[in-house]
Symmetry: C2
Subunit: 445 residues, 2 copies
């Protein structure tokens, strides 16, 4: 669909997203984010992004306007079977061509219906009425085909709005072609450090304080995947790539055990990550390798630690039992926490989380345990133990360790952060890491 | 900042979102979604939305271009203290005015620093260098003030990119002014039905099959808040509003107990919902009213049911204990599920979920219990029990009910849906609903 010559100057790539549901806020645009990330991983940028409702005249005007500025215009959405789907019609008007039934698209649609045992409906048939002269872009999974055309020297590519269809079309059809158009494409490399336990600004401080001579040709970018932060290092030349390992090693050594995983994307890979990377993923993997198991006794996180573990496929190999012990009575009955310990120290205390963790180890027979008891808020705080206070205990039958943190935020963020801290502390034990995690400084003092 | 006369024709409102982090996909734009929803609730629409990176020339060109088409241009982002923040500079160029230190903004910034015990830094001071002749828009919480100006008959309003600051500025300063500009603003009314258990297409089928004579002046919209669906009915005239209750009653009666809650927004309210409404919210509220408690015995949902409940503030009044019993051994030890039941029927069976629920009731002393055992995938399926198969049991000591569902999707969607089903079934018991939920038809047959 695009010429196969590599260009020296960078491409002006623009997106046009269509659909009233995007304009009125009924859905959040994740499609263009996915494509922009993928482009960035290959050293390209999106110059401009326009979002429009299902308005025929506005679409026609915008396509024409963008085609005069851009080298590539990717239109997303408006290919469906309903009257609101106007992309093909608008493009036909712009390029001055009639709409006609596209034979190849019809074959695709018939096969698609047949495989599902559907009858081809009139509404579906609308999806193969396309502007004359376009080139098809196959849709590996959906009923709506994509298509492209050159107008005003701009490659216009129309794609379906359904994210999974767009993604497959992008990876299998569009990106491989686009890559050949990007300048110096074999020189772009991105390294991602998936980190937990330091915020963006804390990481930025490391650069400012210790790496003031950081080279300009290694770009530093952040991607918050709350509560994780992905740090991205990108180079765009052979020379920059040569000293990337040296500088990567410097920042990795400053980040220490806050780095969960490092992944490398070079511009020949057309890979988009499915889901953000999580602490639980690393932990489940480590436990599987060691053939060990984990259990958790949760008060303030209320099942979220267990849920983080069990959402990982294959977690049943490392997890048998989890305890959500919200009330004092249940802490005693289920985990043998002593009534006198609760009375003397209160539920949010070192003594109680120690007994909770030991109780979980004893009752479940697991190798590792983590327990938490805290005040998630908004109510329940006091001067002595304000909202955000939490005691955490982690370890095995040889040794249990404890830590008190104060992390005042809203209830959900508190639960998410503390659940990840719990899993991270076990990860650090498994890797025998001696270094103190950054979040231990969050003691509210 | 805007004239106080109400206009008869609808306003052309456009957004300009700035920031390289938006362009490269490092963050997802939720700001414009929030504003668009709020505008829609007040009968207004966003005509066009443009997103640009931190590129001075592109910003200048875009502001000028939009100001010629739009009545209102809301610019979001680029007000921060760093060199990348270019909005004030670009606007100054567009309106042909110099940048100068703004006295009122400086007072705001000094107070802001004082309250936090910060010293006013040079970087911060950049935030009060604004184009001459602008009108301030107060920022109730952040350091960066907003500002507005009229250019080419277009009201240009510049706002901070930090979501919580934008939201407060929008609700307290911008929306109240905009509302006075919106046509026939006192006639717009939106009713939201928060539903669980039917998909968008299933709800649309109800309209198609039973309400073919649905009036054109009651707009129907959907907002997926997965796995919930919010159905929105909007009227834009007094006449339409008059027959809204009658038609609302018709669709409510067809939806039956799938409706969790109804909320009404009229155009004089400037309210934006914090978090999507959840099944757990309704359930916790109901249980609190009845002073009853719930427990759960979870296998395939792995703690997510407990987590859904405990993320609701005040849930400790209705929840004491949750059991995540992943392995057969733990089902037996913790919940007294009989070994012979497991051997005879398998873990994913009616007999096992019945014993799990009874065990959870006995052990916790709760009033209500829900238990689930299923195959979340991707592995573990068989011909007899494919991935997505789940047995659910719910009830109290008087009566336990069971149901088998087949819901094949990815692991995370499966867990989310089934966790909500579990809570919804208890809600239906508490409300003594006789009607069969729509999702009971998902039996894989």
């Amino acid at each position: 669909m695009l010429n196969d010559q590599a260009q020296e100057k960078s491409l002006n790539i623009q997106f046009l997203l269509t659909g009233t549901e995007l304009m009125v806020g009924d859905i959040v645009d994740t499609n263009s984010v996915m494509l922009a990330q993928s482009l960035k991983d290959h050293g390209a940028e999106v110059a401009r992004k326009v979002t429009l409702g299902d308005d025929f005249d506005a679409l026609v005007a915008e396509i024409e306007y963008i085609s005069r500025q851009a080298d590539v215009l990717l239109i997303n959405g408006g290919l469906g079977p309903t009257a609101d789907d106007l992309t093909a019609e608008a493009l036909a008007k712009v390029i001055g061509q009639p709409l006609e039934e596209h034979a190849e698209a019809l074959v695709h649609l018939e096969l698609w219906c047949e495989r599902r045992g559907f009858r081809l409906s009139g509404a579906n048939r609308k999806q193969v009425i396309l502007p004359k002269g376009i080139t098809l872009v196959p849709n590996p999974i959906g009923s709506a085909v994509g298509f492209s055309v050159v107008h005003n020297d701009c490659h216009i590519i129309c794609t379906p709005g359904v994210p999974i269809e767009l993604k497959q079309m992008w990876q299998q059809e569009i990106l491989p072609h686009l890559i050949t158009q990007l300048p110096k494409v074999d020189k772009v490399k991105t390294v991602k450090l998936h980190t937990f336990g330091m915020g963006e600004s804390a990481i930025q401080n490391l650069f400012d304080q210790h790496l003031a001579d950081w080279p300009k040709d290694i770009e530093v970018g952040y991607r918050a995947a709350s509560p994780l932060v992905d740090l991205k290092l990108t180079t765009r030349s052979e020379q920059a790539e040569k000293h990337l390992p040296e500088w990567q090693a410097k920042i990795e050594s400053l980040l220490g055990a806050h780095v969960l995983k490092v992944s490398t994307i070079d511009s020949t890979t057309a890979e988009i990550l499915e889901q953000p990377f999580t602490v639980a993923q690393t932990l489940v993997e480590l436990l599987r390798q060691k053939e060990q198991t984990i259990t958790m006794a949760e008060s303030c996180t209320g099942g979220l630690i267990a849920s983080n573990v069990t959402r990982i496929p294959g977690s049943s190999a490392v997890f048998e039992a989890g305890y959500v012990t919200y009330s004092n009575r249940i802490k005693t009955e289920l985990l043998q926490v002593k009534t006198e310990t609760l009375e003397r120290h209160g539920a949010v205390s070192e003594a109680v989380v120690l007994e909770m963790a030991q109780g979980a180890l004893d009752t479940s027979g697991s190798d590792w345990a983590v327990s938490v008891s805290g005040i998630a808020g908004p109510g329940g705080g006091s001067d002595d133990k304000p909202v955000g206070t939490v005691w955490i205990c982690w370890g095995n039958n040889d040794r249990l360790k404890t830590q008190c943190l104060v992390y005042p935020t809203n209830r959900l963020n508190f639960q998410r952060f503390i659940a990840n801290v719990g899993l991270d502390l076990i990860r650090r034990e498994l890797l025998e890491i001696k270094e103190v995690p950054s979040y231990f400084s969050r003691t509210g003092k």
